[in-house]
Symmetry: C2
Subunit: 255 residues, 2 copies
């Protein structure tokens, strides 16, 4: 069975309080699609954050001494750095223009995932607004999944993704930041290969592989395709969580 990823057409600009379940349900018929058992919906972080009202007006941010000191060091807006610090557990690396942190959600990323592009707080002062990541992306994915499952009567997966830079390689790739109803990892431990050896590679980051695929379909620039319908995910659906994908700090050779 092929894996098919289809961008949902006609998703409007999202505002705080918008009902993403309803918006997805209204988009699917435009594709001639109805949800089937095992389908997965992948949503860009941005629309979930906006629906949650995670916009922050930079003019209201009070900067700490730490943010001001950091701003001097790395030449970034101290108000954004203040938000980065509030959203992070630990600063891993800094250099001019760049700050890499462990986000409070547990993953490592630049700028705590705070987004300054495509954010319009209001028509006049849009440039002073930024967007934080969703409060609890696993929970947000779960709520959207429950809404879509209730409406469709079939079992689904829902994933929220963002684009992260990587160690060693150029270019951002889509990664999962929240999921519900699909595995984060597929554990192949003990599964024999064709010649009866045990596999050395034991765990595959299947949610991140799907996130990368969906990110490819979404593109980056247009907010018109922040949701992707997936059919043919080749692993059994089960409960899943971002936590599966986070490498414990003491097992990480590159922190």
């Amino acid at each position: 069975m092929p894996l098919t990823l289809t961008p949902l057409p006609g998703i409007p600009l999202i505002a705080p309080g918008d009902d993403l379940v309803q918006i997805i349900q209204e988009s699917l018929p435009r594709l001639g699609l109805s949800l089937q058992e095992g389908d997965i919906l992948v949503l860009a972080q941005k629309i979930v954050s906006k629906a949650q009202g995670r916009l922050v007006d930079l003019t209201t941010v009070e900067t700490s001494q730490e943010a001001l000191r950091l701003a001097d060091q790395i030449d970034k807006d101290p108000r954004i750095l203040e938000l980065v610090l509030r959203e992070s557990k630990e600063v891993l690396r800094t250099r001019p223009g760049t700050i890499i942190v462990e986000h409070r959600l547990g993953f490592v990323c630049a700028n705590a995932g705070i987004d300054h592009s495509n954010v319009a707080g209001d028509a006049a002062g849009g440039e002073e607004w930024v967007l934080l990541l969703p409060e609890d992306p696993d929970a947000a994915a779960c709520a959207i999944r429950q809404g879509l499952e209730a409406a469709s009567g079939v079992r689904l997966g829902v994933m929220i993704i963002d684009s992260h830079g990587r160690a060693w390689r150029q270019g951002t790739v889509g990664v999962a930041i929240g999921l519900s109803g699909l595995p984060g990892l597929a554990d192949l431990r003990g599964q024999a290969d064709l010649f009866g050896y045990r596999l050395r590679i034991t765990q595959v980051g299947v949610a991140d592989e799907l996130a990368a695929a969906a990110s490819l379909v979404m593109g980056q620039a247009a907010e018109g395709t922040p949701a992707v319908h997936v059919r043919g995910f080749p692993y059994p659906l089960r409960e899943g969580s971002l936590r599966e994908l986070l490498r414990p700090k003491d097992q990480d050779l590159f922190r």
Copy 2:
């Protein structure tokens, strides 16, 4: 247009000298597919390496002092470590059972990508054989692409992928190790978003995103699906290379 990834059925076990162009061409009609302008074929490293005869009989490997010293330190087969060192520019990290290197091809990975599973050198002594990565994956992708383009008369992309572990996150994901006819990165620098701001994220690792998608479809255990047909790749095809995806060492905060 949806992105569709279809595993090619009936790919046989590959032996040194096998003609992958012919094998792919024989598989496509089983899907009822003929190649169209812009299609991409993604191949697992393993079949390219095998066709190139990159199998090594471990009983023939002479171990250096460095390999023996390393074997003591991290409790691995010194013959495999000898091959890892020969295939690498630099050892980045070691700990018991694990060695992370910069491969001679320029990417960072565990074990220099040397594969001990699903390798049958001969029926009697299969366990003593390992498989090195392809000699020059960009060139291998280019040769396969030229063969398929000559046969089909349409412009195509070809990519060779492997599964790599990552800093910070659990689970391996598919990544590009060689490509021809498709971009490694899509450079969005200067492209305005919906509100006219400049995007902060400038480069997307589109080849790696596609590699992850294809890896998801291939799975890991069965050698039956080491080739995937892709239709609907959403970026214009152009010449591309693994080199685009390699972060220069002096720009890497995590080496």
